[in-house]
């Protein structure tokens, strides 16, 4: 019984962390059609921003929830102005540019931080479920993921800015004709996407050993989750992260971590074979 509860929490945690990892990419790739191969590096920078801020004496929750997204968002803004804005609509070139950026950021982080940056401990102690110990921080991640989804939904559905952004992504000339500047809208959306990546990196920072090359571990998972989710941003993110997270955890616990990883990948292949436009290409069609 205790074990069931523990496993349930681990599953929720796995789903939540997949949502976090993929959210930034869902905005940058799903909405803006920029194949961002530097997504993992934006997360990595979020992690370093958090650690640096905490070392400067900032409260850890402030560092995670505010400073890291802001810093990474601003870096993203610079990247957008200097590189990405020349490349909208050129899917292939965004790949080359962002691959270059990812190498650049890895090199830069190595020069600034080196390879042995002391991380930060989780701010929430572990606690007991029956005879088991589990990480209290898991709940923090789950809560952040839930609020993230609700927040994204509220912004995109409920606010005028979200409506304009969605409109501009679909038909930028129409948005321009209505008096909005697509250039500014794209800039703001890219900022948000990067900030989300930064947030994910920051939230995970206390749980991972952060090195400059850490980002590479997330990029494939994020792409698989976003693409398997299909065209709907939030419903897609939620459904595919849910499916993959659960499959991964069940097989990891039942057999081994390797099988868990492979099961996730096989699930992705089967899913896309059955639903070639992703989950929300068929189910929840037209929803957000």
């Amino acid at each position: 019984m205790d074990l069931t509860v523990v496993l349930l929490v681990e599953m929720l945690y796995a789903v939540a962390s997949l949502i976090l990892i993929s959210a930034g990419l869902a905005v940058v790739f799903g909405m803006m059609k920029v194949i961002n191969l530097a997504h993992g590096e934006f997360m990595m920078m979020g992690g370093y921003a958090t650690i640096t801020a905490v070392n400067w004496g900032v409260n850890i929750f402030v560092a995670i929830l505010i400073i890291a997204p802001l810093v990474v968002g601003l870096i993203g803004l610079v990247v957008e102005r200097v590189v990405i804005r020349h490349l909208y609509g050129r899917l292939v070139d965004t790949m080359l540019a962002t691959w270059g950026l990812s190498l650049f950021f890895i090199g830069l982080a190595t020069m600034i931080f080196g390879n042995t940056t002391t991380g930060i401990s989780t701010p929430i102690p572990g606690f007991t479920v029956g005879t088991y110990q589990i990480s209290g921080y898991n709940f923090f991640i789950i809560v952040v993921a839930v609020f993230l989804l609700i927040g994204m939904f509220a912004v995109l559905k409920g606010t005028r800015a979200g409506l304009i952004a969605r409109g501009a992504m679909q038909k930028s000339d129409m948005a321009a004709a209505l008096g909005y500047s697509p250039d500014r809208i794209y800039m703001a959306t890219f900022f948000c996407g990067c900030a989300l990546s930064g947030l994910a990196g920051a939230v995970l920072a206390p749980l991972v050993g952060l090195v400059p090359t850490s980002g590479g571990a997330y990029i494939a998972k994020a792409f698989i989750t976003v693409i398997a989710g299909g065209p709907s941003l939030i419903a897609g993110l939620f459904s595919s992260a849910g499916l993959f997270g659960i499959v991964n955890q069940v097989f990891t616990f039942a057999i081994s971590p390797v099988i868990g990883e492979v099961a996730l990948l096989v699930a992705a292949v089967v899913l896309l074979r059955l639903l070639p436009q992703g989950i929300t290409g068929k189910i929840f069609k037209g929803k957000l």
Partner: protein, 406 residues
């Protein structure tokens, strides 16, 4: 690397040296030392300090007048964590640069990528890294600790401090697989029981359900030969779940690339390890070494196990050249096989003539405040695993990496 001015200057000087020296060498009479390491890319945490150790060693040799009256010249290449570049630079070192000796290689695959080239071109090759053991080749000298050397010392100590039921979490590749088998053997030899073994691919960074699984089995001790950045997450998640106060941990890999400095003191304290070197080793030799390192690079933060191995490897080679009075390969091998030993920062290192591996001191340590506190020193441990399969005295033409049956 924190980029301070001194650092920048030394690396600039080193670069200038690397670029200009080959041309000077055509005219001048020097001994050429080739170095191949991953100084950038995903393995640079290992390669950068190794590169620094190499340059420190050569600098010291040259400052003391060089070898056989000649200066030692470095020809170094950065393989950027790309296996194909090892083959390319291996060829370049042996055929174009015609170096007298090669030190380098980090991963086992990188060693295998260049070992045959070194053998064919009769270039003596030193591989100065802790690895899985079993290489038997007269042309290569290895001075890193092998699994049996570590595990034989670590397991009884760790079991003594905890209990008889052991759970093993190992990196899913050759080193991890072989080490896991040695751990099982020594656990059984010490009257214990292995209650679980799990292997993790190198990119797994989420250990939540594994931690739950370990608790459902309830071992007295967890031994975790996990490798690399992603696997560091295990130690953090272990602590985040509050397990670090409940079940003791031991590892044969944590700290080789200074990984323990990424963990906070609360997360790392108490983890038991066994290596050849620790920065906290309080011996005159190590203190003097750290001073020299600090004089060259500013601070000693980056020194780690295999950086010292690389330093000791070069010193071993230099000593052999002195004793042989020649850089010629046969004379050099004969000198090394005479049971030659040096006193390095980590203690005495003796070449084992039969296996070309090293007899060295193994220190049992515990993590304490991001350092490795030495608990006990076991002097001059033999590489028993490789000795079981390799005898170059009886079979000098051997050229295999044996998988050691346990």
């Amino acid at each position: 690397m924190s980029l301070n001015r001194r650092n920048f200057l030394t690396s600039t000087a080193a670069l200038a040296g690397a670029l200009t020296l080959p041309r000077v060498a055509m005219a001048a009479d020097t001994i050429k030392l080739g170095s191949i390491l991953d100084v950038s890319g995903i393995f640079d945490a290992y390669g950068k300090p190794m590169n620094m150790g190499m340059r420190l060693a050569v600098g010291e040799i040259n400052a003391a007048g060089g070898l056989l009256g000649k200066q030692v010249e470095i020809v170094a290449y950065d393989t950027q964590s790309d296996m194909a570049l090892y083959s390319q630079y291996g060829q370049q070192l042996t055929r174009r640069d015609k170096v007298d000796v090669v030190h380098g290689g980090i991963l086992s695959a990188s060693r295998e990528a260049i070992r045959q080239t070194m053998r064919k071109t009769k270039t003596p090759y030193f591989y100065n890294v802790l690895y899985e053991g079993g290489v038997c080749d007269r042309n290569i000298f290895i001075n890193g600790v092998t699994p049996a050397q570590q595990v034989e010392a670590l397991v009884p100590y760790a079991m003594g401090k905890s209990g008889k039921k052991v759970y093993i979490l190992a990196a899913d590749y050759n080193y991890g697989q072989i080490t896991a088998r040695w751990i099982q053997k020594f656990v059984a030899d010490n009257g214990g029981e292995t209650v679980g073994v799990d292997f993790f691919p190198l990119d797994v960074s989420d250990f939540g359900s594994t931690i739950a699984k370990i608790q459902s089995v309830g071992p007295d001790l967890v031994i975790a030969p996990l490798v690399g950045g992603a696997h560091l997450s295990f130690f953090r998640q272990w602590a985040a779940a509050g397990m670090n106060t409940r079940i003791p941990l031991a590892s044969t890999t944590l700290g080789v690339g200074n990984e323990h400095k990424v963990l906070t003191p609360e997360e790392g304290n108490g983890i038991m390890v066994a290596y050849n070197y620790s920065q906290e080793l309080d011996t005159p030799a190590n203190n003097a070494f750290k001073e020299r390192w600090a004089a060259a690079y500013g601070d000693t933060n980056l020194i780690h196990e295999i950086a010292v191995s690389n330093y000791q490897g070069i010193m071993t080679w230099a000593e052999a050249v002195r004793q042989a009075g020649s850089i010629e390969r046969e004379a050099l091998i004969a000198a090394l096989e005479s049971g030659l030993s040096i006193d390095g920062p980590a203690g005495k290192v003796t070449v084992d003539p039969k296996t070309h591996h090293a007899v060295l001191d193994v220190h049992i340590m515990e993590m304490e405040n991001q350092g490795m506190k030495v608990i006990e020193t076991l002097p001059q441990r033999q590489p028993i695993d490789t000795q079981a399969v390799c005898d170059l005295a009886a079979n000098p033409s051997d050229n295999t990496q044996y998988e050691i049956e346990i």
